[in-house]
């Protein structure tokens, strides 16, 4: 099990807990979608798994070499070209100079950006930037890839294509992916398992397995999306009062 979360809790200062008693385990090579309304601590949970923040209670088990991380905005460095951005990740990992270039080019090719390596971030579209960011997080060469709403800011056409792209890359590279989203369709589209996180405090309240049948049957996938949406809304309604 690359990731095990036990009774994980997080509060900032004296405020109400953001996360409380989060239990989950994620298997090697699994694609898990972490779903929740805005402000449910999804990003905080991801930061904790990534080691960017420390939990205030509970225990967690993560791979010793850490995790690769992909943010909502591509966060590419504007002074570097697309290829150099990927190369920087390789460099900080300690890959030798000679090998960096070939590896970076191979990774850009993997995300279908073989011809755009010399372009600078501002010359790329949002979707292309996000693919460079994906290539960069793959360059980290960690088994675990954490993604924090990476496609939320993209237009629908681009997002659909990137879903296909991510699924293809997941299958090709065998990564373990934790994908945070607030989009139910996206969660069902991508995840093998969908974990629903409640809001304030965040806690895993329910989970669904997305089977091979959902993969081929649009009707079935729609049905599951409906069920999860209803449960999510119920969770949101609790906060109405």
């Amino acid at each position: 099990m690359p990731v095990v979360l036990e009774n994980l809790g997080k509060r900032f200062g004296d405020g109400a807990p953001v996360l409380d008693g989060v239990n989950a385990s994620i298997g090697r090579g699994e694609f898990v979608a972490l779903l929740g309304a805005s402000g449910c601590g999804k990003s905080t949970l991801l930061n904790i798994i990534a080691g960017l923040e420390a939990p205030t209670s509970g225990a967690l088990e993560v791979p010793s070499d850490g995790a690769a991380f992909m943010f909502q905005d591509a966060a590419l460095f504007p002074w570097l070209t697309a290829r150099e951005n990927v190369e920087l990740a390789l460099k900080l990992r300690g890959v030798g100079k000679a090998e960096r270039r070939t590896q970076a080019e191979a990774l850009l090719d993997l995300v279908h950006l073989g011809g755009a390596g010399e372009k600078r971030p501002h010359e790329l579209s949002g979707g292309m930037r996000q693919r460079v960011a994906l290539a960069r997080s793959l360059a980290q060469d960690r088994q675990l890839l954490l993604m924090d709403e990476p496609f939320a800011a993209l237009d629908a056409i681009t997002r659909d294509l990137l879903h296909d792209e991510l699924e293809r890359i997941w299958k090709e590279t065998g990564r373990t992916i934790v994908f945070v989203t607030h989009n139910v369709r996206e969660a069902v589209r991508l995840g093998q398992r969908v974990l629903l996180l409640s809001s304030r405090p965040g806690r895993v309240v329910e989970e669904w397995h997305v089977t091979e049948d959902h993969r081929t049957d649009a009707g079935l996938a729609g049905h599951l999306t409906g069920i999860i949406t209803a449960r999510l809304r119920e969770e949101i309604r609790r906060h109405a009062k």
């Binding site: 960017l52 460095f77 570097l80 900080l92 755009a116 579209s125 959902h214 996938a221």
Partner: protein, 312 residues
Amino acid sequence: MPNSQTRLADAPAAAQKVHAALTRSSTSPADLRELEAGLDSLQSDAVRRARIDWSRILLPVAALAVLILAWQVYVWLGIKRRDLVPGPLDVIGQLGTLAGEGRLQEAVWTSLQRGVAGFLISVVIATPVGLLLAQVAPLRRAFGPLISGLQVLPSVAWVPAAIIWFGLSDATVYFVVLMGAIPSIINGLISGIDQIPPQYRRVGAVLGASRLQLALQIVLPAALPGYLSGLKQGWAFSWRSLMAAEIITVGGSMGFGLGSMLNQGRDLADMTIVLAAILLILGVGILVELLVFAPVEKRLLRRRGLLAGSTR
């Protein structure tokens, strides 16, 4: 029956494509590559080729011509005595004389050498100090106010102390230049670093950068636009401090710089020399900006996509 429906039924491949778009079963890799290439080209701007923009050259030249003409008209009106307000032609004549004697070249060369050397030493000292102050919070809190204060303190104030310590030598000039330039470069670098989007540091941490790597590979390049304007200001402070030092410090082993020329003009009560020196000091400043800083800055901003819509 509509034609398209029958055609769909006849073509299983087309039906499969529709199916793939609706469910999780992916689009085929070749298909995906093609779709993405299409989208990429739709969403990328065509590259615009820059042409030489003559207004960049003609407008400043025209502005200069208007100012010189206004000066000449003022002289023609004869409101002030000619030896108090010489005309453009008198000053140009004086510049010619000075150039003929070789004093113009000597003064420009001496001052420029000192200014550049002082500036470069300041850069070498200020850059690590600025980086350290910006990255280490206790140091920043301890020394930040002092550095800001030093930037406000006119570096001319150091001239008397420098003369007492170093006598009438080049060391005096360099000391004053360093005291002027170093604080302003440090402050420029610090404010450049303060304006880095916090996301960059997070990315650096996620990518596994050590503290030193973070500073050199991410923070420094990210702060480059702010650093560059700090350098520009640092050069301006170097040049100003140098002139102040040269005007006040005369004799000893001091060479003949532009400030000395200015001072000599005052001693001789020759307004043409005074104005010629002022124009030379101004001219060197403009040339350094045009030939050194402007191209570097423009290149830097263009590469980061920060130039669009600016009036440069």
